[in-house]
């Protein structure tokens, strides 16, 4: 590295470089300054670097956010064919860091597992093994995660043709090896219980295999992937805007937030600014979606533990919010409302009035649920002290969002790195200390009230008139009357539809606070009309990975209550 390059590093990257210079790794780790400070390392040095990043007092990157592979086969100017891209977060400072492990062997890409450094890496490594064929020596349970066992090939490699089919029969279905052998515990035999894949308590298709000693779970393993459709591969074969309807189907309970997260990543790559009115519409509808998401989570959770009435009280606000979304964009669930550079269409005239109406009606339902549930002795007995996740565990398992906050860590992206206008609003981050199911319920209840307060403040500064879209016609479709009458506009329109938005070559990781945690999108552009690679950091994925560890020692009925408070959305989990 030349002196000039060193001098051009940003302060954050410079800090990391100086920290590393004191270690033996200094000359084997390349520090680069992209959108995030980025370290490049060889597989052999990766475990040592991982330990340093986690443990060194000045770095303390304690939360493992994401690991995804990249296949550089068709990317001009890239070094090695495969690289594993890791995103880390230092919770105490709210700083993000990217580490790229460059895999020199294109035939048998391998890198050592870091599941012993960050337990959260476990499932992310399995996913990379599954979709890219990376080998992770030292991984405790390296097998396919999202694709089924009869799948041939690795779907996200660039030489894997999309649209191939592999048929899965019952004979291919693999149970964990330990589940097939009976286990004697003294005089008594244990029992293996299979819950799901299709089971009313699993909310989505999830397979839980549990070993029971009487009613206590002593070992468990979950299998996911039943809703896997390889969103990331689909994104690679479509244009930037065409990904929006797919992004809606990640967390379909709060579809708006996914779209906002995705387009914000692309807008940052393009350097496009969205007008204030457009940003506020996004914020208001995102916060309503958050309320909706929490309503569904709490409502379904309470149904699972037998408190059915609350489900109806919590679904009424949701109905009102769906009505609002439908009036804005024409669909209730999969809204596809955002576009890169703004929104599909301006909000209707009665938007503010409708929002204010909802702000009036929603708290009443929350109060009703509060009165029915919060101090109810049965609910307390079911939720208190069950599904406990300590602060240290929550961080080690890579949890974010309400799960992390219920364990006593006040990390919220909207506060740690305020995007849009969140720094202008006056609101509190609710935390709880116990980390049990009750704490997660309380945090979500309070978050809904905080969201209402954010919406109220956003409506106060909401401009009555004004554009919602950027006026950059290289990004946003020109207005229709111009397209009909003006040749220039028609050409812009044609280019955007037929070729897609030209996003300059580069990469970006951008993250927002979704309803169940930090939702990140890591996008690589090569200057073409669509993404070269799009990796989602799904917030409920680490939660689900931890599920089989949380429920050990509890009863099956506690496991059902715990699954509800994890807020698993299969569309996002399986992608």
């Amino acid at each position: 590295m030349t002196v000039a390059e060193v001098a051009s590093l940003s302060p954050a990257a410079e800090k990391i470089r100086s920290q590393l210079s004191a270690t033996p790794l200094s000359d084997r780790v390349e520090v680069r300054d992209l959108d995030l400070p980025t370290l490049e390392v060889s597989p052999a040095d990766w475990p040592a670097l991982a330990r340093h990043l986690r443990d060194a007092p000045e770095s303390r990157f304690d939360l493992f956010l994401d690991l995804g592979g990249v296949d550089n086969l068709k990317r001009p100017g890239a070094g090695t064919r495969f690289e594993a891209v890791v995103h880390l977060l230092a919770l105490s400072r709210g700083e993000h860091l990217r580490v790229k492990v460059l895999l020199p062997d294109a035939d048998q890409p391998a890198l050592p597992s870091v599941a012993d450094v960050w337990p959260a890496a476990d499932w992310f490594e399995r996913e990379a093994y599954d979709l890219f064929g990376f080998d992770f020596p030292g991984h405790p349970n390296l097998r396919r995660l999202l694709c089924h066992d009869a799948f041939v090939g690795h779907a996200l490699r660039k030489d894997y043709a999309p649209g191939q089919r592999w048929f899965f029969s019952e004979a291919d279905m693999r149970m964990p090896a330990w589940a097939l052998e009976p286990e004697e515990r003294g005089h008594f035999e244990t029992q293996t219980l299979s819950v799901g894949p299709s089971h009313p308590a699993t909310h989505g298709i999830i397979h839980l295999v549990a070993r029971l000693d009487a009613d206590k779970i002593i070992r468990a393993e979950t299998q996911i992937g039943y809703l896997h459709r390889c969103f990331e591969k689909m994104a690679e074969t479509h244009t930037w805007n065409q990904v929006i309807p797919f992004a809606d189907r990640l967390n379909y309970v709060s579809a708006m937030i996914n779209g906002v997260g995705y387009v914000k990543t692309v807008e940052k790559m393009l350097g496009v600014e969205v007008p204030e009115r457009g940003v506020l519409v996004r914020t208001i509808l995102s916060e309503f979606s958050r309320i909706m998401d929490h309503c569904v989570c709490i409502g379904a959770n309470l149904v699972d533990i037998g408190a059915l009435t609350n489900f109806w009280y919590l679904y009424q606000p949701r109905e009102g919010i769906y009505g609002l979304l439908e009036a804005c964009c024409g669909a209730r669930l999969t809204v596809s409302y955002v576009r890169v550079g703004g929104l599909a269409i301006d909000v209707p005239e009665d938007f503010v009035a409708r929002c204010r109406g909802l702000l009036e009606s929603i708290p009443k339902f929350l109060d009703d649920v509060d009165r029915l549930v919060t101090n109810n002795r049965i609910v307390r007995h079911r939720l208190q002290g069950t599904g406990v996740v300590s602060k240290e565990q929550a961080i080690a398992w890579g949890m974010t969002g309400p799960m992390l906050r219920a364990s006593g860590v006040p990390y919220d992206v909207r506060r740690a790195r305020p995007y849009d206008f969140y720094d202008r609003f006056d609101w509190d981050v609710p935390v709880a200390q116990d980390g049990d199911n009750l704490a997660r319920y309380l945090v979500r209840m309070e978050e809904m009230r905080q969201s209402l307060s954010i919406i109220r403040q956003a409506l106060e500064i909401f401009p009555e008139k004004g554009p919602v879209n950027s006026s950059d016609w290289h990004v946003v479709l020109p207005p229709k009357d111009a397209v009909y009458h003006d040749m220039e506009s028609l050409i812009y329109h044609f280019k955007l539809i037929m070729e897609g938005i030209r996003v300059p070559a580069g990469e970006r990781y951008d993250w927002i606070e979704a309803a169940n945690g930090e939702l990140g999108f890591y996008a690589i552009a090569t200057g073409a009309g669509g993404p070269y690679r799009l990796k989602v950091r799904p917030p409920c994925f680490p939660n689900m990975a931890a599920f089989e560890k949380i429920i050990i020692g509890g009863t099956v009925s506690d496991a059902v209550a715990t699954l509800g408070t994890l807020n698993i959305i299969a569309g996002e989990l399986d992608r």
């Binding site: 009165r371 109810n376 309380l442 309070e446 009458h485």
Partner: protein
Amino acid sequence: MSGVIDVSVRDPSRLTLAQRLYLPEIFSGMRVTIRHFLRNLFALRNLPTILYPEQRRDYSGRFRGKHILKTREDGTLKCVACYMCQQACPAECITIVAGEHPKIAYEKYPVVFDIDMLRCVFCGFCVDACPKDAIWMTGDYELAFFNRQEAVFGIDKLVERPGEKVKDGYGYRPYYPGDGTVPPTDASAAPVIPGDGEREKLREECLLPVYRPSAPGIGT
């Protein structure tokens, strides 16, 4: 910006006497449910549920339901088979086969315009993509089929016949700055054709398909 609030239960191991007795909480819960019950009983109009299909939900004029192919006043399709909706469709559900008009050299029209309703994700991208105001969506969401072939809607099922009522009304349509609903008046005007009345004459001669309420398919 503001602070962090702790919402955890102060003394988690201990319930208050009222909570332990259980009955007071039962009664306070009953008060909530009985209030809802009475309100629902005496104000049926405000019930949040609807009695579908007798009663139908009011959707906005932006609802993204079944598509409709707009026609000119003379009953010919506005679509010029430019393939832009087919290209914009993320679900790849639109199939267009363009036909060239035998006499009017620059006039293209769709011979086939199929939308596979089982693939369609109702995102409205086709409406956004259309440069001729030729495809809109309607409020029709009742799409049920007995087999997959039935789900592929051709022109005869998609076309708007002038004068015929659109089932469930118009839905999502192109975005016009202003009130967001009304297209500019001349957007639907027929393209200028050489000579007065020549277009009509040519059309009569060459049989551009014309869609009328009574004709189920392509007619003249």
